[in-house]
């Protein structure tokens, strides 16, 4: 029997058959396997689901829905409650769980399942994705089974990509595509990725910073360094410990970064009063930090990012380098919100550096646009799915 006819038989209501489906079916040894039936059911459920683009970030998870824009922006935090018999259940996800971070009793653990842009805890990530997918479909009666595009760091390994893909499939996705974060960021920022012109994007995320040069719907050069918002927080915590002999938590460090964090000197001096545990006395004490101190604290991680950008400029072909020099580097991601990061990069590279509009959502929006235009652009953008 010609196995080529299987998709037609499995597809009585005329849904689109993707090339990847054909591949899967042709490699299936049985005619109507359990997998086919499950896939068919998922397709039925998929009619009632929206296609999603997920920016599964270390710090925040964003979901973009076709036609609706960003529908979810919550911290990638899950609180796990341990029952009396050792059974674990999800206590909270997202904003609610982030409030618990560092403030949990013994039976609850608030964890961040992603580290450095990749999955650190597979099961918890799956639960978190499941929660978020359901949240954006909460008015639906039928369990959602959407097509999902997930952004992955360009430096992630095949094993890490497989883990993300399977995690999304386990969370109920009917089809999972992966796209490299800088490509999604470039599309989301509005760079001309389809032109024969080099466009450089720097995405400073929670766990990683990605730098890439795109041209003709492809990535010419990309590099990922495991420096991001988390490293900034760690640097602030270490600085406070070293200079004030006080211990501050993850949330406080992040708050300091938002309030008075700066990447380049010369701006307005700002101050913040924070509470930390004095290591010598063992009791909480308050002290005042200013923006110059934070600038000093952030020097080490910032230099790592600058180094990555400089290396990229060294590595790319001269034609593309000229394009970048003419137009500039676009910065996206949460790190772009750090004050004067553009000025720092400008001074270091001598090129114009621009912050994208709404840099936090660029990756998710770019993924969404890629998903919307997948048919038109074929699978060029998603060529790295397998």
């Amino acid at each position: 029997m010609d196995r080529g006819c299987v998709p037609v038989l499995c597809n009585p209501i005329g849904l689109a058959v993707w090339p990847s489906d054909l591949w899967e079916v042709q490699h299936n040894s049985r005619f109507f396997s359990q997998g086919d039936c499950l896939m068919f059911l998922r397709r039925i459920r998929g009619i009632f689901s929206n296609d999603l683009s997920i920016d599964l970030g270390t710090a925040n998870t964003l979901i973009y829905t076709r036609g609706q824009g960003i529908v979810l922006n919550e911290p990638s935090v899950v609180a796990i409650r341990q029952g009396p018999g050792g059974s674990k259940s999800v206590a909270a996800v997202g904003n609610e769980a982030k409030q618990m971070l560092g403030r949990t009793p013994q039976n609850i653990t608030a964890i961040r399942p992603l580290k450095d842009g990749v999955i650190a805890d597979f099961t918890v990530t799956e639960k978190m994705l499941q929660f978020f997918i359901h949240k954006v479909h909460e008015s639906r009666i039928i369990r959602p089974s959407p097509r999902v595009l997930i952004c992955v760091p360009c430096g992630s390994t095949q094993v890490e990509r497989r883990a993300i893909k399977e995690s999304a499939a386990g969370a109920g996705a009917r089809e999972v595509f992966l796209i490299e974060e800088p490509m999604a960021a470039a599309i989301g920022a509005g760079l001309p990725v389809d032109e024969a012109r080099g466009s450089m994007v720097l995405d400073v995320g929670g766990g990683t910073s990605e730098v890439a040069i795109t041209s003709l719907n492809g990535i010419v050069y990309s590099n990922s360094v495991r420096i991001g918002g988390d490293r900034f927080d760690d640097a602030i915590t270490a600085y406070v410990r070293r200079n004030y002999g006080a211990l501050i938590g993850e949330v406080t460090a992040e708050h300091i970064k938002y309030e008075i964090g700066s990447a380049y000197p010369g701006g307005e001096m700002r101050e913040i009063e924070v509470m930390g545990r004095n290591l010598a006395e063992g009791v909480p004490r308050s002290f005042t930090l200013n923006s110059n101190e934070i600038l000093e604290a952030l020097q080490e991680p910032l230099s790592g990012i600058i180094e990555a950008v400089k290396t990229a400029l060294e590595q790319i072909p001269p034609e593309l380098g000229a394009d970048v020099a003419e137009r500039g580097i676009v910065v996206t991601g949460g790190g772009a919100l750090l004050a004067d990061i553009d000025r720092l990069l400008e001074e270091e590279t001598g090129l114009p550096v621009l912050i994208a509009d709404d840099p936090l959502t660029c990756v998710a929006r770019g993924g969404g646009h890629a998903l919307e235009t997948t048919n038109e652009r074929s699978l060029d953008l998603l060529a790295m799915t397998e």
């Binding site: 209501i13 009619i47 076709r66 920022a189 509005g190 400008e346 621009l354 919307e372």
Partner: protein
């Protein structure tokens, strides 16, 4: 350099509206005594880009993301509020390309919603048709007569019988009945084992014949009905309480199906043997040719399952 500091009148005419963003930038730059070259150097841009920005020459400017970035930096440099200027540049034709892309996405979404709507409608119709068919299937063709219907049928049968009895026989019967009544009036007790209905005292009537005619059909009807029941092997089912029943004939047609209530009485027809399932056997009395059946032998946990053959025997 002086040409940049002191703009000519020609420059003013080519600048467009007075409050255009390019003109505002240029005026702010000039008021600070900066040249285009100086600004370009500060912003790490080519001077032609600064000129294009001031002249709002969108053909020479790159994509909106870059323009927004340049304008922000330029505005900050010359001490203007960046966001209104960025918005003013954003409203210009340079954004057409992005808008088209977004519109294409929306069009696809519209088609997708239409598909979802049609598929949803189809599913609803399918569910409706299936429900209708299921109900049709679940409604059994009982072929039963209720108690009232049975009574009407019986009366019709009695009147037919009366018509069939020849006139001499009828008058002889009436004479016998008159004799019997006369005996009762004289104080003679009725014979033991005689029909209680006929033994009941009749109300005194002025016209004996009319009375006799009035009483006659009952006896005949009883006999006739008994004969009919005896011949056809009629099965009667009476319910003294709520009970779930499933009775089918040999052709597997439902004769009784569903929950029966107290006081229901049915006479079964159809081709024997009948298969019975009675949910509350204690509340049911099954009578075959007037003889009640003992259901306790076929009950298990108050549920009776049995088959009644043509002779009225339980199998």
């Amino acid at each position: 350099m002086s040409t940049y500091l002191i703009p000519s009148r020609e420059d003013d005419t080519t600048m467009g509206p007075v409050d255009s963003p390019g003109r505002r930038l240029r005026i702010a730059r000039q008021s600070r005594g900066l040249t285009q070259e100086r600004v370009a150097q500060e912003l790490h841009l080519h001077p032609t880009m600064i000129e294009a920005l001031e002249h709002e020459d969108y053909k020479s400017l790159p994509e909106p993301v870059f323009v927004a970035g340049y304008v922000r930096k330029y505005a900050r440099l010359v001490g203007l509020a960046p966001e209104p200027l960025v918005a003013a540049y954003g409203a210009a034709p340079a954004r057409v390309r992005t808008d088209t892309a977004v519109r294409a996405g929306h069009r696809r979404t519209g088609v997708s919603h239409l598909t979802v709507g049609l598929v949803g409608l189809g599913i609803l119709l399918l569910v409706g048709v299936l429900t209708f068919l299921w109900r049709q299937y679940q409604r059994p063709d009982l072929g039963l007569e209720t108690t009232a219907a049975a009574e009407v049928g019986r009366e019709a049968a009695v009147s037919d019988m009366l018509d069939k009895i020849p006139e001499p026989e009828l008058s002889a019967f009436l004479t016998d009945l008159e004799d019997l009544l006369a005996d009762q009036e004289t104080g003679q007790s009725p014979e033991p084992g005689s029909d209680p209905e006929t033994a009941q005292p009749q109300p005194p009537t002025t016209d004996g014949t009319t009375a006799a005619v009035g009483t006659q059909p009952t006896g005949v009807a009883q006999d006739t009905a008994a004969t009919i029941a005896g011949k056809s092997g009629a099965i009667e089912v009476s319910f003294n309480g709520p009970c779930w029943a499933d009775v089918r004939d040999s052709e597997q047609k439902h004769k009784l199906f569903g929950k029966m209530e107290k006081g229901d009485h049915y006479v079964l027809e159809g081709k024997p043997p009948h298969a019975f399932i009675l949910g509350n056997a204690a509340a049911v009395q099954v009578t075959v040719r007037g003889k009640p059946l003992d259901l306790s032998t076929v009950s298990r946990g108050n549920v009776a399952r049995f088959t009644l053959d043509a002779d009225g025997r339980i199998r």
